[in-house]
Subunit: 253 residues, 7 copies
């Protein structure tokens, strides 16, 4: 009965302040992010790297349908973690912004500009009644004026710029790994390797090529590019991380 | 009195996050899906197969009125499980999308595109207040660029692509049967047989032709086709699954 | 006080899912249907039969004002059970659909099409906030392409096609009687007799001509027709069911 | 404190179903009707009779301001019982309908048509949120195609046709009196006498001319007509019902 | 804590029926009327008299700002009791109605017509959600077709016609006094004297000219007229009611 | 926990009546007025005086930002007490009214007219849902037709006219002081002195020139004028009220 | 369970008054401000100084993304503290106001005018339902008519003018430090030094150049200017405040 009483509390209401100045709905939405598998972003001198955990529930599910890496524009990629259906809404919103920018100004949107359009959109869902916050965090990476840039959007609608970050499950451990091993002087290859090692660090150092998604935006070509399974396998094998399938079942989102 | 208190909790509110990041209304909608009889989708090299349990409450009910297989367009079929009236709304929405696509672009809609239009529609009912989520899961199967494709939409509004899947009652058992017996090299005939065997596995290996619905979308003809009772009977008899009527009464939805 | 607490729970809210995937407001609306006196529909080779229990509260009430059989169009009749004022709304809605169809397409509406227009309308009241579901079930019978068709709409907005069915009070017992005695080969006369016997089976085999309403849609003439009291009396007398007045007082709806 | 808790339950919410299929707000509105003094309608061969209890709170109140009999059109009168301010809204609505009918079709509105316009209006207030039901019952009497017709509208929005009926306080006792004494062969005079005797039956057989309101719609003239105090006194004296003032204080509505 | 719980119940909700058919919000609004000082209306052959208790909280408050008598049109005056700010809204509404009538029909509005426009407006606030009822009662007095007319509007939106009435504090006692002493044959002077005596009866027979407001609408001139303090003093002195200041502090509204 | 329960009651709802006819939200808004520092208005033969307590929280705060005296038009000033942000809204509203009046009628607005425009605006926030009342009281003083006029608006939306009044903290004590010492024959100078003495009476007879704000509207010039610190100091010194700084910290509003 | 009950109270409702005249939602929003790191504003004869604590959660986060100092126009800067996403909304709003002013009047907006536009906007979110207050405080500093001006906006929507102030974490201690050490005769350099010493006083007198943000608006040039890390380091070293990194982790907002 106690469980019922608890649950029933969350079937109503809008997002307002608690006595200690917290927005509970936003904090619960952060929990929804942690329920999603991990996503990683790394900024290197040669461009940005996005890496995601693509574990699936059943061997019969197509891994391509685990959409955690998204191309927002030629020069910008987005990795997401959390409530999948919410992520799709934000990705759609982001893509519209990139198109509007090209139409209106005749040039690609800046990474920071895009991030802030998205976070302003997210903030509205935390202040105005009649809807819940988005249960998703995004890592937005791309090239702006020749420079690699890497941003995070969280459920409160705050934009953060990072050198390297993790969102989703095991965020704490992976972030620690990144802090211990990140170096600004890395090239793209180094970034990919760091991302895979970080993912491996919370997976007993065993990853399957299908269970991992990798994308880069090269600082020179300014093009978003997803690695093939073969390319990923090569990296994993080189790093001694190549493991079997991914038996461990992720929590359903 | 306890039962009353429990019930009264669910007569109000909108969909918001619980402290552990869950959306209870979405999870309860998933329970509504499980209350419906099973539906199966299988992707083979020769096309996709949709198979549904059509048990009825009374011999006087017309089986044709148990609408669990729907033609969305010439090249796309949809099987549903869960709250029947909600399914009808989503099917209507899907059909509108296929027509709009033909009008606007002069060509049939892609299976993935259709799925995502539907899931985006579903997601709105989980975030914006004033309505409840849809208590239904859809299996959307069809041919896109000559390739068979098979998708699931769930009450959260997440799209998944599958090789083979089950939704509704006994989802767990049937999905396990599919995982043990699925082979990518099957042709349409093989897909129909696997679907019937899977349905039989949770029905004491006895099925009546009227109690089962089968439809296919052939990869070559790209045409949606429903099997007649005679054709279904032939398959069942061949597979040794041909049983009497379906005395077991399904739960009312 | 307990009764108060119980009642107070149902003075608020909108229709949402319970943890086990049920829509309580829809289930309570089904209870409202059971509070209405019984209505029966029977499909025969010669057309459809609608029969209703027209018991009244007081001898001074005009039986004609107990509107449980409604003409929707020349070729379609509707019998209702449940909350009378709600039934009137749905009947009005159905009549508008038949007129719109004639205006727009120059031809009478199909029975199935009409049913689904009505159930889609009903479903909206179970998903979108700000209103309660309809507390009424309809039996829609008519001729479509020369064929007799018989449908049910329930408070969830699900359409069912039937050979013969009962809704309202004593649904279980009457449905059982119909299952035991229905034969597809009946003509209209046989249908009327079955309907009256079924009604009699839950009324100690005594019915008064005024306490019963009968209508048919003949498959050949495709015309909706209500029986006069004299015609009904003849049937009752022939079947040995002719009883006195209806002293038993129906529950007020 | 218990009383407070009870009351507080009824200061919120909208009209929805209880688990046994009842609409409590509608049932409470029926209680509001019972709180009003009685109104009676009687249909005779010569026309319809409306009679109302016009007791007042204070000798200084003008009896003409106790508006319980209303002229809706030349050929239709309405008697009301229950929440007075609500009655005024429905009477206004009814009068608009009669005017619209004359404008649109160039002829007086039918009694049944008018009744159903009113009940459809009432029903909306029991299904759509944001308002409460009407706490009033109407007796609508008039001549349609030369025939006297007598209808009731109740708070659920259900229309009933009657030979004779009572609404408001003491409905049960007066209705019983009517059932025991009503005869279809009465003329208008007989109807007036029955109405007064019925009213007297719950007032110790003593009525004052001012404490009673009587109106008729003659089947031949098709004209609504209110009796003067003198005419009423004559009837009362003839019937031996002529009593003093009305000391008994009615409950305030 | 109990007090808190009680109060908290009345900070939400809309006006709906209680199980015994009462509208609590309307009844509480009637309590708000009783919290205001008394107002009296008297109809005589020579015209109508309005008299109000104008006690003030502090000697520094201007008595003219205690607006309890209002001129609605040349021939109609209004006295109010209850929540002052609400009264102002209704008076504004009433004045608009009188102006609209002059513009539209080129003639002064009838007293009854005006009263019913006001009560219809009040009723809306008791049935439709999103607002509370008006916590005020009005006495509307004037001349219509040469005849003095006197009406009351109460928070339920019911119009009553009176020969003489009191609203606000001590309504019961003053009304009793009026019933004992009212005579239809009074002229305006007699009406003023009765009103002052009635007010005195609940004030130890001591009234100050400033603490009382008197207005009349003469049946011949058909003009609204407020008495000066000197004129009032003359009446009080003549009646032996002339007292000191009004030390007794009225409850704040 | 008790405190929590209490607080939680006031985080919802709209303004409705309590069983004893009170509007709690309006009464709580009056408490918000008392939380503000005192403001005083005095009407003299020579014009009106407004005086306010301008204590500040920190020596580093600019006293000019404690806006408690506002110029509404050349001939009208307003002093406020209570929730500062709410006061700003009402002052803006008042200024718009003065401008609209000049534009529409080509002449300055009357003091009474302005007051009633403001109180009507305030009343709306106490009756219609979706907003809370204004937590502020205004003293509106000015010259109308050559005569000084002084009004109060309270959170219920009631306008009062005064000879002299205080609102905000210590209202009771200051009002008593005014009642004991007010004389209608004062000139402006006398009014200023009375206001300062009244303020001093609740501040140990010590005031600093910066801690007090004084403004006048002269009956002859009809001009709003604020006193400089030097002018105020002169008055204080003359009255023997000149004290040090204002160490006592006002409650934060 | 108690924690649950507490939390659940703040997931609903709108901003209304408590019995003691407080607006809890506004007070809780003030708590949200305290959860943010400190921001300081100082007005000197030479211009205004804004200084903020820019501590970050992880060494991998880009300090530039901790946006606490914002340029609103050439001559106006804004420092914020509290809920970051809310601050962004207000900064966007402020920037629109500065642009609108330039477009409409062809000149830069005044600092006071801008502040009041912002506070009026904030106030709306505390009175009208359907949204929560802003959980942020702003320090708005700039040059108006050659004079430095410094304002604060708080969550209630009240504007305050200051000589020097702190908002956010440790407001109390820093404000005390400022009161003890502020002198009106300072030049910009003196203002920067005071700001850094004040920040140091709550950080063990150790600050890193990266952990601190400094901006000025010079009274002569009227230009907003942010200090580089090198410039900040010079000041810190000069003041003996130069410390290591900022290990202390700020609370997440």
């Amino acid at each position: 009965m106690q469980g019922q009483a608890q649950q029933q509390a969350y079937d109503r209401g809008i997002t307002i302040f608690s006595p200690d100045g917290r927005l509970y709905q936003v904090e619960y939405a952060r929990e929804a992010v942690k329920r999603g598998t991990a996503s990683i972003g790394i900024r290197t001198e040669g461009g940005v790297v996005l890496a995601v955990d693509k574990r699936i529930r059943s061997e019969l599910m197509e891994r391509t349908s685990v959409e955690k890496i998204h191309k927002a524009d030629d020069h910008i990629g987005i990795a997401s973690a959390g409530h999948v259906a919410d992520a799709r809404q934000l990705i759609d919103f982001a893509r519209q912004q990139t198109q509007v920018n090209r139409l209106r100004y005749g040039e690609p949107i800046g990474v920071e500009t895009l991030t802030k359009e998205v976070t302003d959109h997210i903030q509205q869902y935390t202040q105005v009644g009649g809807a819940r916050p988005f249960g998703v965090a995004l890592i937005i990476g791309g090239i702006e004026d020749g420079e690699p840039r890497l941003y995070e959007t969280d459920p409160s609608g705050t934009p953060y710029e990072w050198k390297a970050l993790a969102v989703g499950a095991d965020r704490g451990e992976i972030q620690e790994y990144l802090e211990d091993n990140y170096s600004e002087a890395m090239d793209l290859d180094g970034g990919i390797e760091l991302a895979l090692r970080a993912l491996g660090s919370v997976n007993d150092d065993e990853l399957s090529p299908e269970g991992v998604g990798i994308a880069t935006v090269d600082a020179e070509t300014e093009q978003f590019l997803e690695l093939s399974n073969d390319e990923t396998e090569e990296y994993l094998s080189e790093l001694g991380l190549l493991g079997g399938g991914d038996e461990s079942e992720p929590e359903e989102e």
